[in-house]
């Protein structure tokens, strides 16, 4: 066996392992996927909304929170991070109408959501502290389906399921599929104590745990990933309520999408770098989450690199052969050259793709029931997601690694 065969088979093995891991977790826990718990008591809760130039959506975000059916929601704190639009005025209007709303302003722009979130956290006196983005709309019962998880005193954080609100453009529609698959996967991670991120659109933390980890890391570009790893490192449990829905607005143009993804990935790498000493320590953080991230990235980069290498070589040989054939006045293509004996590697690849498709459809089937507002996924969008959109991941990842290494982390 040559080097590339061994490399390919190794990548296939890891791909199979991940698939069977997730599918076994799913089959062993499928009855608990939508499980949530009645709170043993009415936990008091404050929600902090960091806001920077979010005038377009902030009103609706506050409205949605005010409609929440959770009676323990005591405060909604809007942190205006020195917006230059009318966000502050909109929030102030709500403050006048509802005494639960508090609007505060940072002395100067903090440069990221983490700074505004930490600033807002200073005003929280409740047992639980939640955060939502200024362009996210939690559903009416989202919070009440999350707080019951805090009955377990070891639970430090509970996160929700994010769905895409704006689905008018192809890129946004494809992301709506991505978000569903991510949510399904994240829930599966929850069953092995490995939820690696508590999302920005809606997550709730036990205030004691939040203070224990000293809030968000303001130097990190993905403070929501970092704080989750910090929780796990400090032995706090993290859960996800799959039926706690929050709708968010995603970029529908390529450049904002790319910037967002680069930020997420650079943040992920920052976090991996920060916690590198925790490998094979700190429970599931060191034993699964970090190795998983690392291997998944290696898999993505090497996998795509392998495909590009082989395919470009094939194309180059075909190009030369065609040129030479024309010069030698012979046929450029012929039936006898069709290889009707595919390799074992081809079969492994086909099986892995089929398993991937099966996994994605399982994840999407799980979203159909809750995502009633929208029609089922169009097959074109699903195909675009699986065979085009996902191919951008390794490219984004490589760019992110470059940005991280060159310290080019300004946005």
């Amino acid at each position: 066996m040559d080097f590339f065969t061994i490399l390919y088979l190794s990548l296939i093995f890891i791909g199979f392992y991940y698939f069977f891991l997730f599918i076994l977790i799913y089959f062993q826990n499928r009855k608990h996927m939508f499980e949530y718990f009645k709170p043993l008591k009415e936990y008091s809760l404050s929600i902090v909304i960091p806001c920077f130039n979010g005038g377009e959506n902030i009103g609706r975000t506050i409205e949605n929170l005010l409609k929440s059916d959770y009676p323990g929601l005591k405060k909604i704190i809007i942190v205006d991070d020195c917006s230059t639009d009318n966000s502050y005025e909109i929030a102030k209007d709500f403050e006048k109408k509802d005494k639960r709303v508090l609007v505060v302003q940072t002395p100067k722009n903090t440069g990221g959501a983490a700074g505004a979130k930490n600033f807002g956290a200073q005003f929280v006196k409740t047992e639980l502290i939640g955060f939502t983005d200024d362009d996210s709309y939690p559903s009416k019962d989202a919070i009440s389906k999350m707080v019951g998880f805090f009955n377990d005193e070891k639970v430090g954080a509970v996160t929700s399921r994010v769905l895409v609100r704006n689905r008018d453009k192809l890129l946004a529609r494809v992301q709506s599929i991505e978000y569903k698959v991510i949510a399904f996967t994240r829930k599966l991670f929850g069953f092995i104590d490995s939820i690696y991120v508590t999302n920005g659109p809606l997550s709730i933390y036990r205030k004691k745990a939040f203070d224990n980890v000293k809030g968000f890391d303001e130097k990190n570009l993905t403070e929501d990933i970092e704080i989750t790893w910090h929780f796990i490192a400090k032995a706090w449990k993290v859960h996800m309520a799959l039926n706690a829905l929050v709708y968010t607005v995603v970029p529908h143009k390529f450049k904002p999408w790319l910037n967002q993804r680069l930020r997420w990935n650079v943040g992920g790498i920052q976090t991996l770098d920060k916690y590198k000493k925790s490998v094979f320590k700190c429970g599931m953080l060191g034993f699964f989450i970090m190795p998983y991230f690392f291997v998944a990235w290696v898999l993505a980069i090497f996998g795509l690199g392998f495909v590009i290498y082989r395919f470009s070589r094939y194309l180059f040989v075909q190009y030369l052969a065609t040129t030479y054939s024309i010069e030698a006045q012979t046929a450029v293509i012929r039936f006898s050259e069709l290889n009707l004996s595919p390799t074992i590697l081809f079969f492994f690849g086909v099986v892995l793709i089929a398993l991937g498709i099966f996994y994605n459809f399982t994840a999407l089937a799980y979203s159909r029931k809750e995502d009633k507002e929208f029609k089922g996924e169009n097959i074109t969008n699903v195909v675009t997601y699986m065979f085009i959109y996902l191919l951008f991941y390794p490219i984004v990842l490589v760019t992110s690694i470059y940005k991280f290494l060159t310290k080019n982390q300004t946005w």
Binding site: M1, T5, L9, I12, F13, F16, Y17, F20, L21, L24, I25, Q28, N29, H32, E35, F37, F149, N151, D152, G190, F191, I192, D193, H239, F288, R313, F316, V317, Q318, Y319, L320, A321, Y324, S325, E327, A328, Q329, T330, A331, R334, S336, N339, L340, S341, P342, T343, I344, L345, F347, F348, V351
Partner: protein, 218 residues
């Protein structure tokens, strides 16, 4: 409340190993099956080879009958040429089992023998046919060379279909470190691969049209 079930990691590993090994075994048996097919063809070809050797001996004793000798060699060369195409197809699909590498060498030896035989007959019966030997590099990583060899194969395949029994076409991998092949390469003073030896004197290194090769045939 929620119990995490971390034994699932081992279960997943177990299932993966089972599925992966099953896949590998299927792959190995599939490649073995192809290798067996080639081996079976080779065994038949060996019988034909011995037949030709005996015929050659008889001809040395009783005098040459060009038609009989050419036909026997042509038939044998054609047989192993088409087996070579099948071998090439199977080789490109072979990733785990190395059996076909050995088969390829054995076939190269067969073809080299036919080449030697053809040259001998060519001296006596040169008007009736021309041996066309295609020497190539099997283990090259040079993409330009791979492309050139691909086109040579196309041209020679067309030539064979067009000329039929007027040529004996023998593709031989010249980089498998076989003494007999190396001896021929030295004898013909081959400078580089791939190349095509037409008859006893013409060696073509540059890709050329089918018509141009035809002009060197008898």
């Amino acid at each position: 409340m929620l119990k995490s079930k971390k034994h699932v990691f081992w279960e997943a590993l177990f299932v993966t190993v089972i599925v992966f090994i099953t896949g590998l075994l299927i792959g190995i048996s599939f490649e073995k099956h192809q290798s067996d097919i080639i081996e079976n063809y080779y065994a038949q070809s060996e019988v034909s080879l011995v037949d030709i050797m005996v015929l050659q001996k008889l001809s040395d004793i009783e005098g040459y009958d060009c038609d009989v000798l050419i036909n026997a060699n042509m038939e044998f060369a054609d047989k192993i040429y088409f087996e070579a195409l099948l071998l090439q197809e199977y080789e490109s699909a072979s990733r785990i089992v190395d059996d076909l590498v050995l088969s390829h060498k054995k076939y190269d030896l067969l073809r080299t023998f036919v080449w030697a035989n053809a040259l001998k007959i060519f001296e006596k019966c040169s008007e009736d046919f021309t041996p066309v030997i295609y020497l190539y590099e099997q283990n090259t990583e040079d993409l330009a060379k791979k492309a050139t060899q691909k086109v040579w194969s196309r041209i020679l395949e067309d030539l064979k279909y067009k000329k039929g029994n007027e040529i004996i076409l023998l593709p031989i991998a010249a980089d498998n470190n076989l003494s007999s092949v190396n001896a021929f390469v030295n004898q013909f003073e081959i400078k580089s691969l791939p190349c095509v030896v037409v008859g006893k004197d013409v060696i073509l290194y540059e890709l050329t049209s089918e018509e141009a090769i035809e002009s060197y045939l008898n």
